[in-house]
């Protein structure tokens, strides 16, 4: 009698053990890469929500730095003291950087002799930059460097390097704007107009920065609407 009762009891134990064993084996937690299915879904077309490039602490003034000129000699930003600066960070492998060079050339020519200077900082090998500058006949001053130029980019607050980015400062070396991405004529004209007003003491620095921010936002919305 005892033996016959023990058989169903053992079956129950086996059943429960098998069930719980499968439940606890953790197969459901196997990591699967995001979006593993190869069939395109509607979700593929949705931009990935994410934080923007890390917010950076832009210095109030242009930090002092020295890099190598195209002739191989050290070149300091201090030599442009008293000038309003357009410091353009770029690289020869960067398409948008190349596209904005003619615009920077024309700005450098148009503002020559008016205490404005365009300075190119190439985060690249000097040989590449020299070859490129010859080919495209870049006439504004260029500096270049690799890790040292990246360190300069970081000093301007751009910790995650991405190019181009351009810093605008007034005659006193105060930073008015940092523009991330390719520059176009309306943006550069707007910022230079504000820098000019700042140099002529027609506007205070906080108001100048606000004017740049609101002006760029307006241009953004105009472009989006157009």
């Amino acid at each position: 009698m005892k033996r016959t009762r023990a058989i169903p009891a053992a079956a129950v134990v086996v059943f429960v053990a098998a069930w719980s064993g499968v439940r606890l084996s953790g197969h459901r937690g196997v990591p699967v890469p995001a979006g593993e299915s190869s069939a395109p879904t509607a979700a593929d077309r949705v931009p990935i929500p994410a934080p923007p490039l890390p917010s950076v602490r832009i210095p109030q003034r242009v930090p002092p730095f020295t890099l190598t000129g195209l002739d191989g000699k050290p070149r300091s930003i201090a030599q442009f003291q008293g000038h309003s600066l357009i410091i353009n960070f770029w690289a020869t492998w960067c398409g948008p950087c190349r596209r904005e060079i003619p615009l920077l050339q024309s700005i450098a020519s148009a503002w020559r002799g008016r205490h404005f200077a365009v300075v190119g900082v190439a985060v690249d090998r000097r040989e590449n930059v020299a070859k490129f500058a010859r080919r495209f006949k870049i006439r504004y001053p260029l500096m270049s460097g690799e890790q040292d130029a990246l360190a300069v980019a970081t000093a301007f607050g751009v910790a995650t390097p991405a190019f181009p980015f351009t810093v605008f400062s007034d005659e006193r070396g105060r930073i008015v704007a940092l523009y991330l991405g390719e520059l176009h004529r309306p943006q550069i004209d707007l910022i230079l107009g504000v820098v000019q007003a700042l140099n002529a003491n027609r506007i205070a620095l906080p108001a100048a920065r606000r004017a740049v921010a609101t002006g760029l936002a307006r241009l953004d919305s105009d472009t989006a609407a157009g």
Binding site: T4, R5, P8, A11, V12, V14, F15, A18, W19, G21, V22, R23, H27, R28, V30, P31, V32, P33, E36, P40, D44, R45, V46, P47, I48, A50, P51, P52, L53, P54, S55, V56, I58, A91, W93, G95, P96, C97, R98, R99, E100, T160, P161, A162, F163, P164, A177, L180, G181, E182, Q187, R209, R210, V212, A213, L216, L219, D220, T223, A224
Partner: protein, 205 residues
Amino acid sequence: MLRSAGLPGRRVLAVCIAIVAVAGPAQAKPWWLRGAAGAGRDFLPPGVAFRVSARIVGRRVAIRWDIAHGYYLYRSKMQVAAASPDLIVGRLHLPPGVHLTDRYFGAQEVYYRRVEASVPFTRLDFGAHPLQIKLTYQGCATAGLCYPPIVEVIFPDAYPAAGAAPSPSTASAMWEWLAIAAGMLAFLVAGLVGRRARQSPRPDP
């Protein structure tokens, strides 16, 4: 007593709310950091704009880049190299991309949205080391921003093998139902055996 203690607490709370109200928007949108015109938003960090996943399919590693809307990768800049000991990797097989004519770079092949590539590999370590492959790739935002070449080491072993076996979720579900069925069958058999044992005449002691 309680009322007088509550008042400073409320003031502190009000000050905290004021600080958060003032500091919150300022931190979210720094006044001087602007994206390119027409972008309508700030740029993404490279690790978010270009997301890589990989898995082993037989003797190849399938690598996939998911590219955020408004960003692209250059085909010519994609490279692979062995990063773990005694591993040999072959040539990276890439699908044809979209032809983009750049004024300065000429004709370029780029990928939007997604690209799936594969690379053959041979392990001479009999699986002693985790499989590591070094990827190099480079991309830009169409709004006019480029990231320097990104170098990343991937671990395809971390993901289950695909292709030959059913997917892990299907496999686990199958085993689960098999165990339930086996348990039920065992229960039924045990019940039948018990019944037969009760019905059969017992020999006298």
